[in-house]
């Protein structure tokens, strides 16, 4: 194994931002967050019965709170400079998303990842399905119909596998939808069979399944109970990502759906290499328990799992994170910014110094082409 040689100074030339950048890099961003101006934005897309229920009782999520149990670090966890002048929240004004992000950095495609009121984590499964459908129509009307650089996610009410598969069937014919969208904290580990209809439908349509951090499972966020602080929740997202990957692999989801592609979003990535080592070792000891697996866990991971880069791990010694990238595989990493959230990764500044321009380009743009359904 050889690590990349440090960048020559002139190689930094393609780090220019502004309009120039468009001609240098066609950035593909795996995680851009749109926002409703207000709940009323969903109303046109919801049958009256479900809209009335939502308007009267609100969302009822599996953690007992109407929003999130941990107060965020900033209003709506957003950059303070991302609030549009029209009074809506960050991510709700397409013009600002264009000016501040898409145009400024020369982003070719941004994958929308709707959070908030999307029906995911909702306890009433019929309401969950109605909100998810509305969230999908809303993305299409407000964003992707007007801005082809943004690509929609098919938000699925994943606790109801059949309804989720139905939503995939409904949206998949429209090429504006680039991926299926789930959250990492599901009520059962993500590989369990109640979720298989989702993977079956996604694989059939050639759509990758993104699992984005957050969600409420109905269990404490950790197997040891509820932590106290947002900082613990934030750092701990990598544990729910590991639960997802472990479950998908060990339950045999990739044996059953051999063309399935999975993207883990907003959990960082460095944890993936040690997890693969751990699973391989346990597989060697106890393959009799999981006789449905034909290959080592690391082989399924290497073939079926991609990870987005934000929030980029920043060890004191940058070579440590480059080692991790090497061990994970350079082709498995997809750039993501998390715009407009507070921990936004700037596509030109987030990567560790010393990474070869070629590698950076691969992560910023090349790898994503093999994953998402893009024009």
């Amino acid at each position: 194994m050889m690590l990349d040689a440090p960048l020559a100074p002139e190689a930094d030339a393609d780090q220019r931002s502004g309009p120039d950048a468009q001609s240098h890099l066609q950035i593909i961003d795996g995680d851009v967050h749109p926002a409703l101006r207000s709940l009323a934005d969903l109303k046109p897309y919801m049958p009256a019965r479900w809209w009335d229920l939502l308007a009267t009782y609100g969302t009822r999520r599996r953690h007992g709170m109407s929003f999130e149990p941990y107060p965020k670090s900033a209003p709506r966890a957003c950059r303070r400079d991302a609030w549009p002048e029209d009074g809506g929240p960050p991510g709700s004004n397409l013009d600002l998303v264009r000016a501040q992000y898409l145009d400024h950095y020369g982003v070719a495609f941004g994958m929308l990842g709707p959070l908030g009121v999307t029906g995911q984590s909702e306890v009433n499964l019929d309401l969950a399905a109605a909100i998810a459908s509305a969230a999908n129509d809303w993305q299409r009307e407000f964003f992707t119909r007007r801005e082809p650089r943004l690509r929609s996610a098919i938000v699925v009410p994943y606790e109801d596998g059949a309804a989720a598969a139905g939503e995939i069937e409904r949206c998949a014919p429209d090429p504006a939808y680039a991926q299926v969208f789930m959250l990492t904290r599901s009520s059962e580990p993500a590989g369990n069979r109640r979720y298989w209809p989702i993977y079956e439908a996604a694989a059939r349509h050639g759509l990758p399944v993104a699992l984005h951090v957050f969600g409420a499972s109905g269990h404490p966020y950790t197997g040891a109970g509820w932590p106290s602080y947002y900082v613990e929740e934030g750092a701990g997202h990598s544990t729910s990502c590991q639960t997802v990957v472990t479950s998908l692999v060990i339950e045999g989801v990739f044996e059953r759906f051999p063309s399935l592609k999975v993207v883990i979003v907003e959990g960082g990535f460095a944890w993936l290499a040690p997890l693969a080592w751990r699973l391989d070792k346990l597989f060697e000891r106890m393959r009799g328990e999981v006789a449905h697996l034909k290959r080592k866990p690391s082989e399924y991971i290497r073939e079926h799992i991609w990870v987005t880069t934000q929030p980029m791990e920043e060890p004191a010694d940058r070579t440590h994170v480059l080692d991790m990238m090497e061990w994970i595989g350079w082709d498995r990493l997809l750039f993501s910014s998390d715009y407009p959230h507070w921990d936004f990764d700037d596509p030109f500044r987030a990567f560790p110094a010393g990474m070869a321009a070629e590698r950076r380009k691969q992560i910023l743009t090349g790898n994503a082409k093999a994953v998402y359904r893009l024009p």
Partner: protein
């Protein structure tokens, strides 16, 4: 690699857990009657299924080595010339829902360990199993063992009721620090919650893999709640946690802390510094890349040669033959792992037993 293990200190050694009836002699009349009348014949969790390959290495299973101090010593201490082995008994006191039962059984387990193992081999040392269902009862158990220098550590499981940094547990740390006990957190669950934040995995393999996630949680909790600010002499050992998960988690924790440190203003330096000062890990299992070529890079990520403590994890099947440490560890580091680091981590090891 040198094959000289003389003087090494084995920081994770498991005598086979007794049955409730075997503990009868160490329970008072009320609890002994309880075991009989209520028919508590077995008390086991799903953490280490008796016949699972991981639970007992095949050659040790054949000889019954973990059930007898003489055979156990033949397989480990005598064979390699270890100076000490620290006994961590995994009788699942923590799984009781009744704190009175838990306290009675914790006391019995510790008495049993002292009589059936520590008294039979002067090289053995013990961990005090704590009934963490009640902070008060846990502190009582620490006080009860403080005068016995053979006990060097207090023991809790990685998955309990609440994250271990919470202030409800601070009297336990105060008592441990006062008496020079190291705090050991071992893989395993009280199973008062599912082992993952997404519920129950289907396979034992997943349950065991998920143990390392619990260590992420506990490290974050101990640091962020300020346990190491409050108890500056406290040492915590993560036992059977795996090793290589640690650097990536510390990078995340330190980065989030930089971003939102106003939430935990008592944490005035990066979390990774607290961890390097206060936290150690046993070196088995070692979830490393295949082959020796990358071990040096992985070790370098720990940013310290003081973090790892030698452990066999006897009788769990973590390695074959005598390959107790991963190949590729430099000789200086090896010496630290085998003896220097354990001695620096367990102050009570230096007391005459």
């Amino acid at each position: 690699m040198s094959d000289d293990w003389t003087g090494a200190i084995d920081c994770d050694f498991h005598p086979r857990a007794p049955t409730p009836r075997q503990l009868g002699a160490y329970l008072d009349d009320h609890w002994r009657d309880t075991v009989e009348v209520r028919g508590i014949d077995t008390w086991e969790t799903i953490a280490y299924p008796a016949n699972a390959p991981l639970t007992v290495r095949p050659d040790w299973r054949d000889s019954g080595a973990d059930a007898d101090p003489v055979k156990a010593a033949e397989a480990t201490l005598d064979r390699f010339g270890f100076a000490h082995a620290i006994c961590n008994c995994l009788f699942p006191v923590q799984a009781f829902r009744d704190e009175n039962l838990a306290a009675a059984f914790a006391r019995a387990v510790n008495d049993w360990l002292a009589a059936e193992w520590l008294a039979k081999d002067t090289r053995l040392r013990g961990s005090v199993v704590l009934p963490m269902q009640s902070t008060e009862r846990a502190v009582e158990e620490i006080e009860r063992r403080a005068g016995d220098p053979r006990f060097v550590q207090v023991l809790m499981l990685v998955f309990g009721e609440q994250p271990l940094g919470k202030s409800v547990y601070w009297p336990v740390y105060a008592a441990a620090e006062r008496h020079g006990f190291t705090v050991g957190i071992h893989a395993g669950s009280s199973y008062h919650h599912a082992v993952t934040g997404s519920g129950w995995p289907s396979y034992y393999l997943e349950d065991y893999a998920a143990q390392s996630l619990g260590f992420h949680t506990q490290l974050g909790s101990l640091v962020c709640e300020g346990v190491f600010v409050k108890f500056p002499r406290l040492k915590v050992v993560l036992i059977e946690s795996g090793v290589t998960w640690l650097p990536p988690y510390l990078w995340r924790l330190s980065k989030f802390w930089r971003g939102v440190r106003n939430e935990v203003p008592w944490i005035d330096r990066p979390p990774e510094e607290f961890v390097r000062d206060h936290v150690r890990l046993t070196a088995q299992p070692f979830d490393g890349p295949p082959g020796a070529a990358h071990i040096g890079r992985v070790m370098d990520q720990l940013q310290s040669d003081q973090m790892l403590l030698f452990a066999t994890d006897f009788p769990h099947w973590q390695f074959d033959g005598d390959a107790m440490l991963p190949a590729g560890i430099a000789p200086d580091l090896r010496k630290k792992i085998l003896t220097d680091n354990p001695l620096a981590t367990y102050p009570r090891l230096k007391r005459p037993a």
